[in-house]
Amino acid sequence: MASDSEGKTFDRETLLDLVVNAIPLGIILFFILAFALINPFGSNPVNTAIQFSIMAVTGAALLVLTYVSGKAISEAEDELEEKGLELSEEAGAGEVAEPESEPTPETTDGDDEPAA
C-alpha cells in the first residue's frame, strides 16, 4: 500500500527533523494571512497577484523540496539499516570506520596540548 509506505517513510523522527523548515513556512503563511487581512495600500490586480505569488511560490517550492528531500533521506536511512551500515558522516568511502566512542564529558580549556 502506498499510504503504508508513506507512513513508514515519514515516521515521527523524520517529521521532527522536518519541523525546522516548517518555521519559515509558518512565517510566510503568517504574512500571507496578515497581508490579506491588513491591506493599507489597496488592491491592484497585477501588483496584488505579484505580492501573493512571491510568497506563495517560494513557500510552495520550499514545501516540495522539503518533502522530496525528507523522503529521499528517510528511504536512504532504511537502506543503510538494511545493509547494517552506519549512519555516520565518517563512515563509508570503502573504509571501515573507527568504532564510535562516547564523547568525553569534561570540557578542557581547549587545545590539543600535550601533558607536560
Binding site: 505580492q51 512571491i54 600535550p114
Partner: protein, 618 residues
C-alpha cells in the same frame, strides 16, 4: 620591409616555441608531488592520473580533481591579494576626508575591482578549490563525473581575471582603455553610459567566470548524484557535500541569468539596444535581473563555508554535529528561499509597496534556517571536548562574526530600517562581516585543517594563531566601525567625506574611518603572516608520520577524506607501521623534546605523534 617583418615574425615564433619547450621541461615545476596524487602513488583510483607529464605541462593538462583543486586555490589566493591590495589603497585614501593620495576615478576603479575580485575571483574559486579536491574523496568517487569539463571550467577563469583587471594594465599605455568604474553591481544607466571600453572587457571577463561556475556546478551535481561510493547515500552524505550540492543548484539557476543580463548590457552599450535605458526597459529592470542573480550569489558564497564549518567544528569538539539533519534541511531551505528575496536590495527604488512587503516577509523567513545552523554549531560545542587549534579558532570566529553579520542583516530586511540605512556604511559593515568574517574565515580554517592532506606536512601553529587573532581583531575593528559610520549617515562608495559639520559629526566620522583603516591594515598584516606560513610550511614544515594529525580517531571523527589519506599514506610507506614509528622516533630525537617515549595515549604526545605535531604544539 615585408620580408623583414616575415623574418621577424618567424623569429618570434621560434622564440615562443623555445620558451614553451623550456617551460615544459623545467623539472622544478614538478617539485610538488602530491602525496595524495596519482603520480606519487600510482593508485589514486582514476586510471587517467596514473601517469602525469613532467614540467608545467602537467599543470596545463591535468584533469585530476586534486590538481585542479590546487589550481583553483592558487588562483583564488592571487585574486585575494589583488582585492586586498585594492582595498588597502582605498582605506588609506579614506583615512582623511579630502583627496590625499588618489583621485575619485582611481578610487572608483579600485572599488569596482575590489568587489568583483573578492566575490567572483576569490570567493567562488576558493570554494571550488575545496570542493574539487575533497568532494570526490568525501563521497568515495574516483574523480569528478566529467574531469575534462572540470579542467575547462578552471581554465576559463584566468582569461576572465585578465579581462576583468584589463583596464589597470592598459591605462598606463594611453590606449583609452581604463579600469571599469561601475561598482560590482554595474547599475544602469551608469554602466551603460560609460564610454570606456574597459567596462566591456570587464563584462566579458565576468561572463567567462559565470560560464566557468555553471560548468563546475553541473559537474558537481552529476558527481554527487552519480559518483557516490557504494556505502554513501543521501542518509550519510557529509554536510559539506550537501552544501556544495545546494550551491551548485543555485549556480545553475542564477549564473545563466547573470550571463544573459551581461549580454543585454553589452548590447545596450555597443549596439544601441534599450533594455536598460530610461526610455526603454528601464534601469530598474537591470536591478531586478542583477539581484535575482545577486542574492542567490550571497548564498552561493556562504553555504559551502557553512558546510566547511559544520564539517570541521565537530572534529575539534569531540562530538558529532548536533542536529545534522536540521542543518541539511535548513541548507536546502536557504537554497529555495534565496530566490524569493532579491528585491530587498531594492527597497528604496520606489517599487510597489505591496511587492516590497512580500520580499520583506520572505527575507525574514530566510533568517530562520540561518539561525538554526548557528544554534546547531553552538550546541555541538556545548559540553564538548574543545581543542582550540587554528581551524577550530577560525570556525568559532566564523560563528561569532556570523552572529553580528547575520543579525545586522535581519534589521536590513525590515523595510523601515532599510530606508534609513540604505546605501550607508552600515550595509558595508553588515555584508563584510559575512564575506570577510564568515566566508574568508571558513576558507582559512579549511586551509589549515586540510593543509596536512594536501602537502603531507604540518603548518606552524604559532603563526597560524597569530593569523587568526589579528584577523579576528582587524575584522571586528574595521567592520564594527563601519556599522557605526552607517548609523552616523556616512554614505558608501565615496572617495571623500568633506561634508558640512552641521549635516553629520565630521570629527567622529573621520575618527571612525581612521579606526576602520587601522583595522584593515591589521587584517592585511595577518594575511602576510598566513602567506609566509603556508609557503614556508609547504617547503619546510615537518612531514606527517601518520594520517591522523588531528587525533580524530580518538573521538571516532576520522573523516572519509582522512581515511582515504591513510590508505594513500600506507601505500606510500609500504604499509609498515613499525617503520612509521621508527621514523617518528628519529624526528623526536632531532626535535630535542624531553619525552622520548612512544605513549599509548596519543593525547600525551609522546613518541611518534610528536613528529607530526611538533610545530603545531605549544
Amino acid at each position: 620591409m615585408v620580408g623583414e617583418q616575415l623574418a621577424l615574425t618567424a623569429l618570434m615564433g621560434v622564440f615562443l616555441v623555445a620558451v614553451a619547450g623550456f617551460l615544459a621541461r623545467m623539472e622544478d615545476w614538478r617539485s610538488y608531488t602530491p602525496l595524495a596524487g596519482g603520480s606519487a602513488i600510482g593508485d589514486a583510483g582514476y586510471g587517467g592520473h596514473a601517469e602525469k607529464p613532467a614540467g608545467i605541462v602537467r599543470w596545463f593538462t591535468t584533469v585530476d580533481h586534486k590538481d585542479i583543486g590546487i589550481l583553483y586555490g592558487i588562483y583564488a589566493l592571487i585574486a585575494f591579494f589583488w582585492g586586498g591590495a585594492a582595498v588597502l589603497l582605498m582605506r588609506a585614501e579614506l583615512a582623511a576626508p579630502g583627496f590625499d593620495i588618489m583621485q575619485a576615478q582611481f578610487y572608483n576603479s579600485l572599488l569596482t575591482s575590489h568587489g568583483i575580485t573578492m566575490l567572483f575571483l576569490f570567493g567562488t574559486p576558493i570554494i571550488a578549490a575545496f570542493s574539487n579536491y575533497f568532494i570526490p574523496l568525501l563521497i568515495g568517487a574516483d574523480d569528478m563525473a566529467f574531469p575534462r569539463i572540470n579542467a575547462i571550467a578552471f581554465w576559463l577563469l584566468p582569461p576572465g581575471a585578465i579581462l576583468i583587471w584589463a583596464g589597470f594594465f592598459t591605462a598606463p599605455l594611453g590606449l583609452g582603455i581604463d579600469p571599469a568604474q561601475t561598482s560590482w553591481t554595474m547599475y544602469t544607466p551608469l554602466s551603460a553610459e560609460q564610454a570606456n571600453p574597459g567596462v566591456d572587457l570587464m563584462l566579458l571577463g565576468l561572463h567567462l567566470t559565470g560560464v566557468s561556475a555553471t560548468m563546475g556546478a553541473i559537474n558537481f551535481i552529476a558527481t554527487i548524484f552519480t559518483e557516490r561510493g557504494d556505502e554513501v547515500n543521501w542518509a550519510n552524505l557529509d554536510i559539506f557535500s550537501w552544501t556544495i550540492l545546494t550551491q551548485s543548484a543555485l549556480i545553475l539557476f542564477a549564473f545563466p541569468l547573470l550571463g544573459s543580463a551581461l549580454i543585454m548590457l553589452l548590447l545596450d552599450r555597443n549596439f544601441s539596444t534599450a533594455f536598460f535605458a530610461v526610455e526603454g526597459g528601464s534601469p530598474i529592470l537591470w536591478q531586478h535581473l542583477f539581484w535575482f542573480f545577486g542574492h542567490p550569489e550571497v548564498y552561493i558564497l556562504v553555504l559551502p563555508p557553512m558546510g566547511l564549518v559544520s564539517w570541521i567544528l565537530p572534529k575539534f569538539s569531540g562530538r558529532k554535529l548536533f542536529g545534522f539533519k536540521f542543518v541539511v534541511y535548513s541548507t536546502l531551505a536557504i537554497g529555495v528561499l534565496s530566490f524569493g528575496v532579491w528585491a530587498h536590495h531594492m527597497f528604496s527604488t520606489g517599487i510597489d509597496p505591496r511587492i516590497r512587503a512580500s520580499f520583506m516577509a520572505v527575507s525574514l523567513a530566510i533568517a530562520i534556517p540561518s539561525a538554526v545552523k548557528t544554534f546547531n554549531w553552538i550546541t555541538t560545542m556545548w559540553n564538548g571536548n574543545l581543542r582550540l587549534t587554528a581551524p577550530m579558532l577560525f570556525c568559532i570566529g566564523f560563528i561569532s562574526n556570523f552572529v553580528i553579520g547575520g543579525i545586522t542583516g535581519v534589521f536590513l530586511a525590515a523595510i523601515p530600517v532599510d530606508l534609513v540605512l540604505h546605501d550607508t556604511y552600515y550595509v558595508v559593515g553588515h555584508f563584510h562581516y559575512i564575506v570577510m568574517g564568515m566566508i574568508a574565515f571558513a576558507g582559512m580554517g579549511a586551509l589549515y585543517y586540510w593543509f596536512p592532506i594536501v602537502t603531507g606536512r604540518m603548518y606552524q601553529r604559532r603563526l597560524a594563531k597569530m593569523h587568526f587573532w589579528l584577523s579576528m581583531i582587524g575584522t571586528n575593528i574595521t567592520f564594527f566601525a563601519m556599522l557605526v559610520l552607517g548609523y552616523l549617515g556616512m554614505p558608501r562608495r565615496y572617495a571623500t567625506y568633506q561634508f558640512d559639520g552641521a549635516i553629520a559629526p565630521l570629527a567622529q566620522v573621520t575618527t571612525l574611518h581612521q579606526i576602520a583603516t587601522v583595522g584593515a591594515f591589521i587584517i592585511g598584516f595577518a594575511q602576510l603572516i598566513w602567506a609566509w606560513n603556508m609557503v614556508q610550511s609547504w617547503y619546510e614544515g615537518p612531514e606527517l608520520d601518520d594520517a591522523d594529525p588531528w587525533n580524530l580517531k580518538d573521538d571516532g571523527m576520522f573523516g572519509r577524506e582522512f581515511q582515504w589519506f591513510e590508505t594513500q599514506k600506507l601505500a606510500a610507506d609500504g604499509g609498515e607501521s613499525e617503520e612509521v614509528r621508527a621514523d617518528g622516533g628519529e624526528v623526536e630525537t632531532d626535535g630535542g623534546e624531553a619525552t622520548g617515549r612512544v605513549s599509548s595515549d596519543p593525547r600525551s604526545d609522546g613518541g611518534y605523534r610528536k613528529a607530526v605535531r611538533r610545530v603545531d604544539d605549544e
